[in-house]
């Protein structure tokens, strides 16, 4: 009994903060909570949920590996009579009891608008992406939509950089190929921080501005101290985790909960 949580990964500060907040809230409200890590593998997430079912948890909190594919996982839990709450990534094609998460598309739009403002409405920008993750795809789409409304801003390169090391190489190579890039949008903090390193090592600190997404502590510090990092779209995993556990407790208690609990992302541009 209690809450079973299956999280996408444990190697990213966002998820660590999310998990920590959930644990803290669960301890505060004295409900049992177990956390399993899917390690970005939907099959592992399914296995973890199956094991939760055998163990007999009351409610499952999921941060889906992928919004579409998680349907199989959710249906399995629901068939076993367990209610499911999703956090961070929504599930598509299946009803869940509640979804708590950032509006990634809106965040992407904000990033695009910030970029346009920083560049004075004209210049060339590059994107570091991660095409297999739906929430990232939404951010990139939002960013492109916002940039598309500024005629004089051009997206000249888009490369994949999943880990920080890959993002660094991708940023370096894009700067090498397009030395006149003025802005880089990283799909997450890692990508943005790596891009800032690349900018520095290319000696382009006075030309290129970098914007990130997630807004964890390291990135916010960078925004405060590193002029290249002009801003970061901020998510609130602590709030998300707390709310997920509270919602789960309400569900166990048989209370009604809202089907969607969007958390508006913030824009952090320094102290």
């Amino acid at each position: 009994d209690g809450i079973g949580a299956s999280l996408l990964t444990q190697q990213h500060p966002f998820y660590i903060e999310l998990a920590d907040a959930m644990k803290a809230e669960a301890t505060a409200k004295s409900v049992p909570l177990e956390v399993a890590i899917a390690n970005q593998d939907l099959n592992k997430q399914l296995a973890d949920v199956e094991d939760f079912i055998v163990k007999g948890v009351d409610v499952i909190v999921l941060s889906p590996v992928d919004s579409k594919g998680v349907k199989a996982v959710i249906e399995k839990a629901q068939k076993a009579g367990i209610k499911v709450i999703t956090v961070d990534v929504p599930a598509s094609g299946v009803e869940v009891t509640s979804y708590i998460g950032t509006d990634n598309y809106a965040g992407g739009v904000k990033a695009g608008e910030l970029m346009a403002k920083e560049l004075g409405d004209k210049g060339k920008v590059a994107i570091i992406d991660y095409p297999t993750v739906q929430s990232v795809v939404n951010r990139i789409d939002g960013f492109k939509k916002a940039i598309g409304e500024h005629k004089d801003i051009e997206i000249v390169a888009q490369q994949t950089g999943i880990t920080r090391a890959e993002a660094l190489a991708a940023a370096q190579n894009m700067l090498q190929a397009n030395p006149d890039i003025q802005g880089i949008f990283g799909f997450g903090d890692d990508a943005a921080l790596a891009a800032a390193v690349a900018v520095k090592s290319a000696g382009l600190e006075n030309q290129v501005k970098v914007i990130g997404f997630d807004g964890m502590e390291e990135a916010r510090n960078a925004v405060d101290t590193n002029p290249v990092m002009v801003g970061v779209i901020q998510q609130f995993p602590g709030e998300m985790g707390k709310r997920a556990v509270d919602t789960a407790i309400d569900v166990i208690a048989g209370k009604d909960v809202p089907a969607e609990q969007p958390i508006e992302p913030g824009v952090y541009t320094g102290k």
């Binding site: 444990q10 177990e34 956390v35 399993a36 890590i37 390690n39 970005q40 593998d41 939907l42 099959n43 399914l46 296995a47 973890d48 199956e50 094991d51 055998v54 163990k55 007999g56 590996v65 992928d66 579409k68 594919g69 349907k71 199989a72 996982v73 249906e75 094609g93 095409p131 297999t132 739906q134 795809v137």
Partner: protein, 323 residues
């Protein structure tokens, strides 16, 4: 004297099994005991079904891998083949194909990828490690092209049923594992083809001198491996209702670990399907049991590594003692 020996062996098949698999069987039993003591829900029929379904994907891929390793080769591309198979099915359904045509197409895709690995290895004489590292990337790239990296849903009810329904009280997925185990076991241990695989893996030159068409054996075995991986991919996509572009990533390592735990020698020439099945069970039970005990993820990684080391060590030791 040789006759005597033979009769005794035939009279006690269990003794033989114990002699051959004693080391890992001990590991398996000890694991089960530990988990049962620590969580009473572990030793339930429901959980056992659970474990079997969870290992299905790895076990089937490991059957294919056993063939390849037996030959002294390796196939690192199976994780990617698993993903391609799922995506091929999803795209076929999108294109309006029915269940059977899609099934056949998916299996053919697996066979074709295995054929590519086999031909590059056997005919061009490239080392299979590097061939399959390369095709691992190529197939992983291919799987992402139709959807640009996004997953594709599968709606076909028959396809979904494979992973969800039961037949005569057992989940279909478990039936499939059983059937494929028997198939591979018989093919390997009872037929001339299996014998040729052992000879080729044991001493390639000797096999050539004995008139075995080594290239053909090699290509066939890579095709078997491709087909097994495709079946794994079918089960996986059916369990997940969808084809994921990152499906099966690094499953090749689990498959190899299962085969080697089961006594298959990476030098070639030695190995059995029974061993591989036990190896896959150890891996599956370890994952499941640690989840049941709520062991945190990173500690799971550590424990899993230690258990693999311990099991292989016990096995090596028990085999050495017998000499």
């Amino acid at each position: 004297m040789s006759d005597e020996k033979h009769v005794t062996a035939a009279q006690k098949p269990y003794a033989k099994l114990l002699r051959q698999y004693g080391g890992i069987l001990v590991s398996l039993v000890v694991l089960c005991i530990i988990f049962s003591v620590m969580n009473p829900r572990f030793m339930t029929v429901a959980n056992f079904m659970n474990v079997l379904q969870q290992i299905a994907v790895i076990a089937i891929a490991a059957f294919g891998m056993t063939w390849v390793i037996l030959l002294g080769e390796i196939d690192l591309s199976i994780g990617s083949i698993i993903a391609v198979a799922g995506m091929a099915a999803a795209q076929a359904f999108l294109a309006g194909f029915g269940f059977m045509p899609t099934l056949v197409l998916t299996l053919l895709a697996g066979a074709a990828m295995g054929l590519a690995n086999g031909v590059l290895t056997a005919k061009l004489g490239l080392p299979s490690f590097i061939v399959t590292v390369a095709t691992m990337g190529i197939f992983r790239g291919l799987v992402s092209l139709p959807t640009n990296g996004a997953p594709a849903m599968i709606e076909n009810p028959t396809w979904i049923a494979i992973g969800a329904e039961s037949f005569v009280g057992l989940p279909i997925i478990i039936w499939i594992v059983v059937v494929l185990f028997v198939f591979n076991h018989v093919l390997l241990s009872k037929t001339t083809f299996g014998r040729r695989a052992y000879l080729t893996g044991g001493n390639r030159e000797a096999a050539v001198y004995s008139g075995i068409k080594v290239d053909r054996v090699k290509i066939t075995i890579f095709m078997i491996s491709g087909i097994m991986a495709a079946i794994s991919g079918i089960l996986l996509s059916s369990r997940l209702y969808s084809a994921q572009t990152n499906a099966g990533t690094s499953y090749e390592l689990d498959a190899i670990a299962a085969a080697v735990l089961g006594g298959t020698s990476l030098a070639g020439g030695v190995g059995t399907m029974i061993g591989t099945l036990i190896g896959a069970l150890i891996i599956g039970i370890m994952n499941n049991g640690m989840n049941m005990l709520s062991v945190p993820y990173f500690y799971q990684l550590i424990v899993k590594g230690l258990v693999i080391l311990l099991a292989v060590w016990l096995d090596v030791r028990s085999k050495r003692a017998k000499r």
